[in-house]
Structure formats: structure tokens, C-alpha cells
Point group: C2
Chain length 330, copies 2
């Protein structure tokens, strides 16, 4: 079976691995992302990646290609990271640098959220019009239209997290604006709401502290599942706001499916009711027939997406996503 | 020079004509749209269209094709009008019926707002990522990504008019929902706001009545240009709401240009300031570099768009918009 290399550089962690054309993770390793010099970060990832190859007795030349995700704005046609504000990385020739280290020209570079959508397209088999949403610390999106990724004029399409969902009581967003869905429904926002609720309810605050839990989305989900009303309310609020952002997106793009990934997606059952209720009052009739589901790609969605980019580029080292599974014989 | 036929069936008026490959309108006629039986409406348009051909001494076979716009949901790959709620037209084989009447197989059928964007792509020469917005009685949109029209899974992408822009004091929209930009910034909404302002200000009301003016967007524009403060405020409000809808769209699609057409676009100078101010607080930094301009296609944008559809289909009678001006030698 054909296989591809995958390097997923995230804001806090980096995953590297080798993935089969059927989506099977043959080998994977995880390290913290080095947030200093970008080249040092890439070199560290390359060392780990070579360990994976070694473990499987493979060389880079045995792979269909290597896909690399970067957490920022990417010019995938030239393999360049344009900007990753969280680490102040700018204009880094990722494909050139990693290609030199790993001795291959078959490096595809992609934005991490786009990579997830490419993974859903390639491994999940969705050849139509769909939206991918990653809801984790922040919120991001990516959209396929007629089997092609919509990239935008400046490689920035899919900034779903910054669609405004609250104009009258807007919360501040890390982007500097306010009222963004990321500020009202991301994992960080859920954690902030939990802290606020605990501030109003001393017994809730005491309970969380007593159990040594963090004020974050995972704690909020645990409490909601235990029947704590405030925690359930927080997910209803977050779901309502995500429903607003998805309603606007459905009106503009008319997808047939919306796939959700990221840590917050693990709590989809806790907020899908509130999400759908608001979605139905925001999406106009002809655009409201959308299936909103959790991705089946799981925790390694972005890593698998990196491999999908490599398979789809067919070893040319750049994205040319015109048809699904083109040239792949598993 | 090559030429194409164009039939633009609107909600109230129908334009027919013959357009050169350079966008020159060689002949055009205008009739009220017959809102009864759809086939009768199409037959009436075909009769007028044949008058245009006759005037120019042409036959249908002299044309690169004939483009037909329908005011509703269109399956352009099969030439079918799926639904036009305003007249209760459903599942009409437009290309088959008109092809029989006009004795040609080269009929392209398109949604009217999509046709405007196709016209901007073809005659305006925009080969990139851009948004078209028609602001008239209602508000509609269409989006080109990488030189291709984004159609959506059910042919309904671009429902920009129903993006929600007001959650706390939402106005009712003809779609049955509330808070849509169409309900807050369309020509109808501007007319409604003028009526409300006149209700609060008897001297404004008397002035409008004395001059025999209608409570509509054209009157509001005239008054704003004469320095009537209430009328100027209405355009500021409408511009602010359009800025919200365009901000959300820019975040999702990252266009480089937004072209505005329709009657309300003639007043763009009256609200561009308010629009841009709100747009800049809604579009995230990396998606905010967008040129928002009035289309150069003018009043006949949709008619020219119908011709552009015909040129681009290359006489195949269906849309296959993969590259600009493909196969056209003007």
C-alpha cells in the first residue's frame, strides 16, 4: 500500500507520522512545539519524523510525499509559511528547508485547518461541498466547493472563528476585535464562562478547586455530564453562538455537510441541540438542509490531513486538489 | 465579432437583447414579466427576443449561444429552474422549452445574481476571488473562487441577503426569518425606514407627500443628496448593516474585490463610509484588504451576465466556467 509522511506543527504540540492510503496511522510521535526559531522547530520535527521512518524501515523515497501543516497563513503553491502570529514566524520557505533536511522534493505545505478538510475530502471521501470547523482553543474553518478547497485571494479563506455572532454584548477576541464566534464559543471562551459562573456561585467554585480541576472546556464538559446546570448552560450558550456562525456560512456556501473536529467537538452531544435550534433560525430554508457531524478522523485529523495533502499532490510537492484520490492505487 | 443572445427574466421586468463579445449591447428590449404561467412568460420573452434578432438581421444560429437568467434556484447543468417562489414556478425545463421555440440547443440557464457575477468575470475580466452583491428590492450575492463560480450543494450558495446582522432588534424579512441584511438594508428596508422616519417627523412626511414622491429608496437617496438629515441617517444605518454582512463574507471567503450592483448601488457614495467603518470592525485583519466598488456593468449587468454565460458555455448550452474567455476570439 502507498504511504505518505505527515508533519503537523500545532501551536502547542507537534505530531509526526507515516500514514497509509487507507488512513491507517502506521507510526506516530508527539513532541511539544518549539516556539522559538521556526527553522529550529522544523529541524526538531524532521528528526522525530526520521525516527518514525527508521522504526518502519523506510526512507523518504518510499513515500508518496510528505505533507506539512503549519499553524498560520500558508502559500501552499510555493510551500511558504507567510505568517504565524503566535510565534512571530514570517515568510519561511518550509518546503525548501524540510526538503533539504529530508532529501526529497515532495513536500506539500498547508495550513493546519485546511489540512483537516483535505483529510475529510481524501480519507472521509466527501467529494462535494462541505465545511470543516475546528473548535479547540480557537475556532477555524475550511471549505470545499465542488471537490476543491476554497483558498481565497490571500490564502485566508475560512476565518470562520472571526465571524461576528454578538453585536450588543460582544466579548473580546484574541484577534483584537470583539463579538467573534471564537470569543463566545471556543474552548478558551468556555473556560472563561466557567470561571465567570464559578465567580457567581461559591459552591461551584469550591467544588472545582476541591477536585483540583482547571477552569477549562474539559472540566466544563465533565461537570455538564455530571448534571451541573451552570456547565450545561455554558454549552447551550456556546452551541447557540456556533449555530449563528454556521448559519451565516450555510447561507453563503450552501454545504451539504459540516464536519466538526478539535477538542470541543468531543462535547458536540452537549451542545448540538442549542446549535441546531439557532442554526435553523439563521440558515434560510433552501440552505438549511445540512448534516452537522463530528469528524470520523478523530484526534489525528490534522496529521491524516497532512498525509492527504501529500497523496493529492502526487509527489509534486504542491497542492493541486482538483479531484479526489487522483492517481492513488491503494 | 462574436455575439450572444441574452434573456433576463426578473421579478418585475424582463430584458432581452443581443450582446457583443466586448460587452456592447447591440439591441435590447424591455417588457414587464408575466407572473402567471412560466411557459407563457418564457414564450413572451422568446417573441421579444426574436424581434431583437430580426432588427439586427440575425438568426439564432448566428449566435455563440443564448443565456437565460431566471429569478430563482437554477440547476444550470441541466437548464432547469428548480424553484422561483415569487411566482410559484417549479421544476421548469427552461433550456428545453426555449430551445424548442428558438430552434437551438445552445441555451444556458442561470440564476440572475450568479449571471451578474459571471458577467463581471467575463466582461469585467476578474479572474480571481471576488464577491458580487446585488442590492435592490432584495439582496443577493454570488462568489467566484479561483475563476470558478461557487454554486453550493443545492445550487443555493450566495444567499448573502439572509446573513443575520441584527440579533437584538431584528426586523422581519420576506424569507420568514428576521435580522437578515435584506430586512435591514435592501431597497425595501430603506423605503420602510423612510416611512418610519416620516411617521416621527410630520414636516418630512408633508414634504414627501407634497412633492408626490414614493416612500422608497430612490426618494430617500434624493432627500439625502438634498441634505435631509433623516434620509442620510437611513443610508448610514443600511451601510452599517451591509458592512456586517460583507465582513462575515470576507472572513469566510477572503475575496480581493466586492462588486455591487442593483438600484441601491447607485447610492453607494451615500453609505460607503458607514459600510467601510463597520466592515473594518467585522473583517479580521488578514481578510480586510478588499476593494468595495460599484460594478462598471451598469443597469444591464444581469443582461450582460446572461450573454457571458452563453459565451462561456461555448455553445454547449450549459455552464462549465473553468477559465475566463475560454474559446472566445472577439
Amino acid at each position: 500500500m502507498k504511504k505518505a509522511g505527515a508533519i503537523d506543527i500545532g501551536g502547542t504540540k507537534t505530531l509526526v507520522g507515516v500514514i497509509g492510503a487507507d488512513g491507517h496511522v502506521m507510526s506516530a510521535m508527539r513532541i511539544p512545539t518549539f516556539r522559538g526559531d521556526c527553522f529550529a522547530c522544523l529541524a526538531q520535527a524532521a528528526v522525530e519524523f526520521e525516527k518514525c521512518l527508521c522504526e518502519l524501515g523506510l526512507a523518504a523515497s518510499d513515500l508518496a510525499g510528505i505533507g506539512v501543516n503549519m499553524p498560520g497563513m500558508v502559500d501552499s503553491s510555493n510551500g511558504i509559511l507567510i505568517d504565524a502570529p503566535f510565534a512571530r514566524w514570517r515568510n519561511v520557505n518550509v518546503s525548501g528547508f524540510l526538503g533539504g533536511l529530508l532529501k526529497t522534493e515532495s513536500i506539500s505545505v498547508e495550513n493546519d485547518v485546511n489540512a483537516c478538510a483535505i483529510g475529510e475530502h481524501f480519507f472521509g471521501g466527501d467529494g462535494g461541498d462541505f465545511l470543516w470547523i475546528t473548535a479547540s482553543t480557537g475556532i477555524g474553518g475550511a471549505f470545499f466547493s465542488g471537490g476543491r478547497l476554497v483558498r481565497g485571494s490571500g490564502f485566508c479563506a475560512g476565518e470562520l472563528g472571526h465571524v461576528k455572532v454578538e453585536y450588543d454584548r460582544p466579548a473580546l477576541c484574541p484577534c483584537g476585535q470583539s463579538g467573534c464566534v471564537e470569543a463566545h464559543a471556543s474552548g478558551s471562551a468556555i473556560g472563561r464562562m466557567l470561571l465567570e459562573k464559578a465567580g457567581e456561585n461559591p459552591s461551584l467554585k469550591a467544588e472545582i478547586k476541591k477536585r483540583g480541576l482547571a477552569f477549562d472546556a474539559a472540566t466544563c464538559a465533565m461537570l455538564a455530564r455530571e448534571g451541573v446546570e451552570e456547565a450545561a448552560e455554558i454549552f447551550n450558550t456556546a452551541g447557540m453562538y456556533i449555530g449563528r456562525a454556521l448559519g451565516a456560512t450555510a447561507n453563503l456556501l450552501n454545504p451539504s455537510k459540516i464536519y466538526m473536529g478539535g477538542g470541543v467537538a468531543n462535547s458536540l452531544d452537549l451542545f448540538i441541540g442549542a446549535l441546531k435550534k439557532e442554526f435553523e433560525s439563521c440558515a434560510v430554508g433552501q440552505c438549511s438542509d445540512v448534516n452537522i457531524i463530528k469528524t470520523a478522523l478523530g484526534y489525528e485529523a490534522a496529521l491524516k490531513g497532512a498525509a492527504a495533502s501529500a497523496f493529492l499532490s502526487g509527489g509534486r510537492g504542491q497542492q493541486n486538489l482538483t479531484s479526489m484520490k487522483q492517481g492513488i492505487n491503494a
